[in-house]
Amino acid sequence: MTMSREELLREIDKMLELPSGTLQGPEVLAELENWDSMAIVTFIALADSAGSVTLSAKQIGHCETVGDLIALVRPA
């Protein structure tokens, strides 16, 4: 299953308990209230399902924005 950038953004909205359509990409992860260790695990699962990519905690730790997360699953 390959997800579009838009579909991934909506999944991250859901993951962080935000209204659908909230996130656009430039948002800084550290400033999002629900971005925590559970969210990291959830994103690893999402990347595995959506992009067949097995991400490490370190790769995710290097991301500063929502857009950086998406780039890990959908490289430009």
Binding site: S37, M38, I40, T42, D48, S49, T54, L55, S56, A57
Partner: protein
């Protein structure tokens, strides 16, 4: 002769830590949300002075009470724990005496976490197939909660203590009732689930007991169990599916031919993700996580539940998959 599982029993300590208790202690933890994803509603906690071997002993006593075997029939006991009573002697030797097993029985401990039960089965099958033993008592026991920092949400919401006992007997059968086995090890992941002090490498000191807060707001010292949940999840995703494919290849079976799947009960979220990723129907997949992640005891507890619920029946073919600290993993098939 072939090794077969005759019966299982388990024991949970009396003291419980419920979601409600954790919520009352740390309202800021959103424990209800965590429980929703972990599937854990209560964690049994070993009492003061209650050791992993005590939990395993109680489980073994329940097993003997079933009438499937008497202590004097056991000719080998294997105990899986990472919380032995002492460095010396071997805890399985003490359990021989406490359970009234014959002095002619062999006894040894194996130190593994959540992969341990598959390794116990592999060792038991080897002992039986090579005619070294005919009646093997497999014990598991763990008290990880003793190693947890009270203020570490990442582990305190997940782990519970338990002990189990499983009886293996030699029987006449035309084909193996257990196996093949697939094993795997990657020590490079050792630091992602670790208790750093108390072993021979690093002694406990005043310095190692100093607590620090991590970037997620969890507190621990070097004397506490540390788990990098994200890395453990990544490891699980990396190894479980290939191990299953290799097991099916060795057995000459397809996924559809397996009746029941019993994985290490790490947490509900990981189990459901693995199930969907591998393509296992929900009705064939055992979830028995309500008492928490009980490490090496989780597979035998889930097996016991599956037997109680009638999901495991005579003739059923079950796949058991364990994965845990080390990294260490293992998978096998068991015919009921």
């Amino acid at each position: 002769m072939q090794a077969t599982i005759v019966a299982t029993a388990f024991h949970l300590p009396k003291t419980m830590l419920t979601t409600h208790d954790l919520n009352a202690e740390f309202p800021e933890w959103s424990v209800a949300k965590i429980d929703g994803s972990t599937g854990i509603t209560e964690r049994h906690i070993a009492g003061e002075g209650e050791c992993a071997s005590d939990l395993a002993q109680r489980a073994a006593e329940k097993l003997f009470a079933l009438g499937v075997c008497t202590p004097d029939e056991v000719d080998f006991v294997l105990f899986c724990t990472q919380s032995p009573d002492y460095w010396v002697p071997t805890t399985a030797c003490l359990l021989q005496q406490r359970l009234g097993l014959p002095t002619t029985a062999g006894a040894l401990d194996i130190n593994l976490g959540s992969s341990g039960f598959v390794y116990l089965l592999g060792l038991a099958q080897g002992l039986v197939a090579s005619s070294q033993a005919r009646c093997v008592l497999l014990l598991t026991g763990e008290t990880y909660t003793r190693f947890l920092n009270r203020k570490d949400r990442s582990v305190r919401t997940i782990f519970g203590d338990a002990g189990t006992a499983t009886l293996i007997r030699a029987v006449e059968a035309p084909a193996p009732l257990m196996g093949p086995f697939v094993y795997g090890t990657d020590g490079a992941g050792g630091e992602n689930l670790i208790l750093r002090t108390g072993g021979a490498r690093t002694a406990k000191t005043a310095d190692t007991g100093v607590e620090e807060e991590d970037e997620s707001g969890n507190w621990r010292s070097m004397d506490n169990l540390y788990m990098n949940g994200a890395e453990i999840f990544r490891f699980t995703l990396s190894v479980v599916q290939p191990a299953i494919q290799e097991l099916l290849r060795k057995a000459g079976k397809t996924l559809e031919e397996i009746d029941v799947f019993i994985f290490h009960q790490a947490n509900l979220y990981i189990l459901q993700h693995l199930r969907k990723r591998i393509g296992i129907p929900a009705e064939k997949f055992v979830i028995a996580i309500e008492h928490g992640n009980t490490a090496c005891s989780s597979i035998p507890i889930a097996m016991h539940r599956a037997l109680e619920e009638g999901r495991l029946k005579p003739g059923s073919l079950a796949m058991l998959v364990g994965y845990g600290p080390g990294y260490s993993w293992g998978a096998t098939l068991v015919r009921w």
